[in-house]
């Protein structure tokens, strides 16, 4: 077998995360399998090439942080800040994700098959996030750009102080955050939603979703709106 395509297995029960990440930063293979992550932090952080990494188990904070091109699948749950500041590539969590999933991410696709906790997509800057379940409160806080799809419900404060990101939610939405409003679903929105669901490998009827975005009322400081800041 071609050594470049044969998956290298790294067992975190015997190897430190630091050795794993050093290997992933100058990869000798195109595919990796990581065993026994046992909630370790910063697993597969800082990937900067198109390698694929399959992590078998639960990870701690900042898994696949700042991913730039890698295809990372976490076969388990992820702690805080999975795929934070991702630039490109794909990160998939087959279980649930904790807080701040995809925080500040600039690009790529983050798929969470289960649900994500609070502040999913906080300050997102261009990433696409698709959540198969629900997201917790304050998701999409100050979301600047990119798209977030939630296939079940969204908690209170959705899209608070949102800029230009577009949010799609299929289920119930709690109280909307400051300056976040429901917007009409036009054909182009249904089309991009269908693309995002397809990219995530999820099947839903796009007509069941509603779209949320910025009313752009907080784009300039006015003292009459002091209560909203």
């Amino acid at each position: 077998m071609d050594p470049l395509t044969e998956a290298i297995t790294v067992d975190l029960a015997t190897q430190p995360v630091r050795a794993l990440n050093a290997e992933l930063h100058s990869p000798s293979s195109k595919a990796y399998e990581v065993l026994a992550p046992a909630g370790a932090h910063a697993v597969a952080a800082g990937i900067d090439s198109g390698i694929s990494v399959d992590v078998r188990g639960h990870v701690g904070y900042y898994a696949a942080g700042m991913n730039d091109g890698g295809v990372v699948t976490i076969h388990g749950n992820a702690g805080t800040g999975v795929a934070e500041n991702m630039m490109s590539g794909t990160v998939r969590v087959t279980g649930d994700a904790s807080q701040s999933a995809g925080a500040t991410a600039h690009g790529g696709l983050l798929v969470i098959d289960g649900s994500a906790s609070m502040r999913c997509g906080i300050s997102m800057k261009g990433v696409d996030i698709v959540v198969g379940g629900s997201v917790g409160p304050m998701s999409g806080f100050m979301a600047q750009a990119g798209r977030m799809v939630v296939c079940c419900d969204a908690g209170d404060g959705l899209g608070d102080s949102i800029y230009e990101a577009r949010l799609y939610v299929r289920g119930a939405v709690g109280a909307l955050g400051a300056d976040c409003v429901e917007k009409p679903m036009r054909d182009e929105h249904r089309a991009e939603l269908a693309e995002l669901l397809a990219a995530a490998g999820l099947e839903h009827d796009v007509t069941e979703f509603r779209r949320y975005g910025s009313a752009r009322r907080l784009y300039h400081f006015h003292s009459e709106q002091a209560g909203s800041y």
Binding site: V17, R18, N21, A22, H25, H41, A42, A45, G46, D48, G60, Y61, Y62, G65, M66, D68, T80, G81, E84, N85, M87, Q99, S100, A103, T104, H106, R119, I122, S123, K125, G126, F141, M142, Q144, A145, S161, Y163, E164, Y219, H220, F221, H222, S223, E224, Y229
Partner: protein, 456 residues
């Protein structure tokens, strides 16, 4: 000529002075609070309130110019594969592209590199100009994460996690629409022309335990090569420094309340935080108790550093290096009398201009207007900054030699006395001519003691 109000025997109120009256009138007329640049303008106990005890009978001075007095400093040796080696302990503080023009950032890089010190990015990412011209560049990691990306992170020489700034501890950044040009908007992923407010808290961690994991992640991404700084605005400095060190900081940056800013509410600038003079001894005490002062974790102090005397005093109190913002901008040409007429036309005056938020800086420094920015020649301005940094360094050396020290870092609290009771209490050095350090009674139990620091 008509006599002035004072000549006519009119008495100005100390409580309602002219600036206060103007503030009330501005609020009443506009309904908006004052947002401005610069730092605190009120007088607070400062380095001016300290004096050095030069050598005489009991101490040998060193010969000026002939006997060596070194100024180099190593930052970030605790965990990083590549700590920074600087020739002078005077560094350039983080100031964003966005707040400053590309030309100003380039000039800062040129000036700093010429004298062998570092510059720092800011809230808005790294520009090619500053990376290109800065031999040693510290990359800020801020709550907004504008322009944050792993490629630039790897290009940096050190990473500074910003928790706060002396001008606004507990507050986030602001950049008003006038300065959100297409380039700035593109770097920050924001619509051009909006009034931008940056978050005051980091989006993916909340407390010191989380910060430890965040720092670990940054180290993992950059393969443990780069020093990691943590910057805090001076408030509960003793505790903040202990927590920053526990979270893994290699270098702690403490920015006093006088510290400059590009745009902050005036009420925040003037009323939140503690003076640099009060913050340094607290930070030093924290590091000493951890056994890391001068052995492991370095302290950078900033906020109101103007002269080599300030540098020497900050170091004597226990800082390993200092950072300058406002003074560096002045060295580049900010508030220059050359533009006196234009400052007047903006309703200000050379030496008073603080509308950095406004984007109309005649000197071309705090602006994104291409015509104004083009006024600043980065080569000439960089030379001026290099000159100024050399003066600061030589002045600090002059004082260190006079105190008999062969390295500026050897200055110590024992070399200092205070002119006022307030400064004596804050800096924990005796009032001049006395043995008295107000509050110097060791308290039992937890919390900062007020005992005098000696660099054991």
């Amino acid at each position: 000529m008509t006599p002035s109000p004072a000549e006519r025997g009119l008495r100005e109120s100390a409580t309602f002075d002219r600036a206060t009256i103007a503030g009330i009138r501005h609020a009443a007329a506009t309904g908006v609070y004052d947002i401005r640049g610069w730092g605190a303008k009120r007088a607070v106990p400062h380095f001016d309130d300290l004096l050095f005890l030069g050598a005489s009978m009991s101490r040998y001075p060193l010969e000026g110019y002939r006997e060596r007095c070194d100024t180099d400093v190593v930052l970030g040796s605790r965990n990083a594969k590549y700590p920074l080696h600087l020739d002078t302990p005077v560094t350039i503080a983080g100031m964003s592209f966005g707040a400053l023009s590309g030309q100003a950032k380039e000039a800062l890089g040129r000036g700093a590199s010429e004298v062998g010190t570092s510059t720092t990015t800011g809230d808005g990412g790294m520009t090619a100009e500053e990376r290109g011209q800065s031999k040693t560049l510290v990359y800020q990691y801020l709550p907004s994460r504008y322009g944050m990306n792993p490629t630039d992170l790897r290009k940096a020489d050190a990473i500074e996690v910003v928790l706060g700034q002396g001008a606004k501890p507990g507050g986030g950044g602001m950049l008003l629409g006038q300065k959100i040009s297409d380039r700035v908007a593109g770097m920050r992923t924001l619509p051009a022309g909006i009034d931008q407010r940056s978050a005051c808290r980091h989006p993916d961690w909340t407390g010191p335990d989380d910060l430890a994991i965040k720092i670990l992640e940054l180290r993992e991404i950059t393969d443990w090569e780069k020093p990691v700084y943590v910057k805090v605005g001076a408030t509960r400095t003793y505790y903040d420094v202990k927590l920053a060190v526990a979270a893994g900081a290699d270098v702690v940056v403490v920015d006093g309340m006088q510290g400059g800013t590009a745009a902050t509410q005036d009420v925040f600038i003037e009323h939140v935080g503690i003076p640099t003079l009060a913050a340094i001894p607290q930070a030093v005490q924290a590091l000493q108790e951890l056994g890391l002062h001068r052995h492991g974790v370095q302290l950078i102090a900033s906020g109101g550093i103007r002269t080599g005397a300030d540098v020497a005093k900050a170091m004597a109190l226990g800082a390993d290096a200092v950072a300058i913002g406002t003074a560096a901008l002045i060295a580049l040409g900010d508030n220059s009398p050359e533009y006196a007429a234009e400052y007047e036309a903006l309703g200000s005056a050379a030496g008073f201009y603080d509308d950095f938020q406004d984007g109309r800086d005649p000197a071309g420094i705090t602006t994104q207007d291409p015509e104004l920015a083009a006024r600043l020649d980065p080569v000439r301005a960089g030379k001026q900054l290099a000159n100024y940094l050399r003066v600061l360094t030589m002045e600090a050396q002059t004082i260190a030699r006079a105190c008999g020290k062969s390295h500026v870092r050897h200055l110590e609290p024992e070399d200092l006395v205070a002119l006022t009771i307030e400064a004596a209490a804050m800096a924990r050095v005796p009032l001049a001519g006395t043995e008295w350090i107000p509050g110097n009674t060791k308290r039992s139990g937890a919390g900062p003691s007020t005992g005098r620091n000696t660099h054991a």
